[in-house]
Amino acid sequence: MIAVQARRSHRTELIAVLGLRFAAGFVILAMVAVLGYLAFEGTKTFYVDKFPLWTFLFSPDFAVDAGHPGAAVFIVGTLAVTLFAIVVGGPFGIAVGVFLAEIAPYRMTQLLKPAIEVMVGIPSVVYGWLGLTLLVPLIRTHTSSPSGFGLAAAGIVLAIMILPTVITLSEDAFRSLPGSLKEGSLALGATRWQTITRVLLPSAASGLAVALILGIARAVGETLAIQMVLGNATQFPQGLFAPTAALTTEIVTDMPGATEGSLLEHALFSMALLLLVIAMLLIVFVRVALRRRS
């Protein structure tokens, strides 16, 4: 009897594991399909329409009707918005990360961490809507900007959106430092702030770099929130308060109107492929940096 039961259980397991293997294999299949098909479609601009890659990347002229889709405007827009977001949100996030790891008493952590989790849960379209209804009018009334749309609005919204990522990763970086470092510094008569700036920050540098790079990766791929406040004008960013465009916003703005197989559609897919490549490069960089540090 026992032998029969055992055989049955083994058979069940065999079937189950087969199923599990299939699921795991599906993941591989999915990756190959997605990356492959996107690469296929995204390179049509260069192979089918015979538009040179170099010009695509660097020409400031986005004149699709004339057969010349230069994407430099959007590339610069993406870089500009991301830069703004990381310059504003990066240090702020690291500071709050230090606060959580070294200074905050338990009660404050109990309040702050759920708040950060809620922030993560808020959909990007809601952040965009908040930017649109709150921030843009504010910018319009208090600065020289005629409409309020532009880099500043998008950058601020994006900075707020990447804060949770930077904060949690920074906090982890500090918490993973051995306590003996802090002890040693304090035993030599340093104040807490001296210990943080002179010992803890330098020691956590690689973890903080990861936090920042992942924040950047998040910013590069963000679409809706900035599309609602950036202005979506196909021009290079002219200061902080003029409307401009980024890769992600351009895709959302023009794709609904693009016909299948047209040059515009191909160009937009090329932009999508470019976004993908940038995101992957950032992640690979993080992995390489991590491996070197350990």
């Binding site: 008569g189 340093a190 104040t191």
Partner: protein
């Protein structure tokens, strides 16, 4: 409980640190009960006893390291040159300048050897590069490390061997010209050769500093200390000149520990 008996053969050395009726609590748990001990200037006092008996806890009370542990409480009096280090006017930053500590495991900062050693003087305000260089050399000499690292001062401290790292931590502590150096089992993680280098070092340190050392090795205590205090279950059972403690202990518990009957 038992009074810290003043040894009859006490040198004319002054008391550098005097602890009187010290209690240390972690929350509601009492780790140290009624500890009283006088530590003589420019001599080595060893704290011995079985694991968990409170020697490290007592040591940490001497430079106010318990301030960093939430829930820890120190009561009683601890005097440094006659001044209470726990009085409201006393500043832990100043106290830790005058009383340095070396930990059980070397904890070099991820910086160069030079940066590590001058960390103390720098955070206390010293900026003059020449002066710092001088301090670094003096400290490394006092820690018997200078010859080994003088050509690679600006390389990472993490590249040093375990024993060298620990001596560098001693140099780091000594660079501040403290008056007292507390050592918490400084050689327990090191091999015998590195250990003996550190023991030799301790002998030389008493030229300028008062040393209080926690050790789980009775042989070490016998070799390097002038006075020994025996801890058991959070109390100081007996204190006396090292010679006397090891040859004619007065308390039964001390004798049991020394002869290896427990711990």
């Amino acid at each position: 409980m038992i009074d810290a008996a003043q040894p009859a053969t006490a040198s004319t050395a002054a008391d550098k640190i005097v602890a009187r009726d010290v209690d240390v609590f972690y929350g509601s748990f009492q780790a140290i009960k009624n500890a009283s001990l006088s530590m003589k200037a420019e001599h080595v006092t060893a704290l011995i006893g079985p694991s968990g008996c409170g020697k490290s806890t007592f040591l940490r009370a001497l430079d106010r390291m318990h301030d960093l542990t939430p829930g820890a409480r120190v009561e009683g009096t601890i005097l440094l040159d006659g001044e209470d280090i726990y009085s409201p006017e006393a500043d832990p930053v100043v106290i830790r300048h005058r009383i340095g500590m070396v930990f059980q495991r070397a904890n070099p900062f991820p910086k160069t050897i030079y940066e590590n050693v001058i960390y103390g003087p720098r955070i206390h305000g010293e900026r003059n590069r020449a002066k710092l260089d001088e301090i670094a050399e003096r400290a490394l000499r006092q820690a018997a490390l200078w010859d080994e690292v003088k050509d690679r001062l600006h390389r990472s401290a993490l590249d040093l061997s375990g024993g060298q790292q620990q001596r560098m931590c001693i140099a780091r502590a000594v660079a501040l010209s403290p008056e007292v150096i507390l050592m918490d089992e400084p050689a327990s993680a090191l091999d015998p050769i590195a250990t003996s280098k550190i023991e030799d070092l301790i002998g030389q340190l008493t030229e300028h500093f008062t040393v209080v050392i926690v050790t789980h090795s009775m042989q070490q205590a016998a070799r390097i200390s002038d006075f020994t205090a025996f801890f058991h279950l959070g109390e100081i059972v007996e204190v006396g000149p090292t010679n006397q403690i090891f040859t004619h202990p007065r308390e039964k518990r001390t004798e049991d520990y020394i002869t290896g009957r427990f711990g």
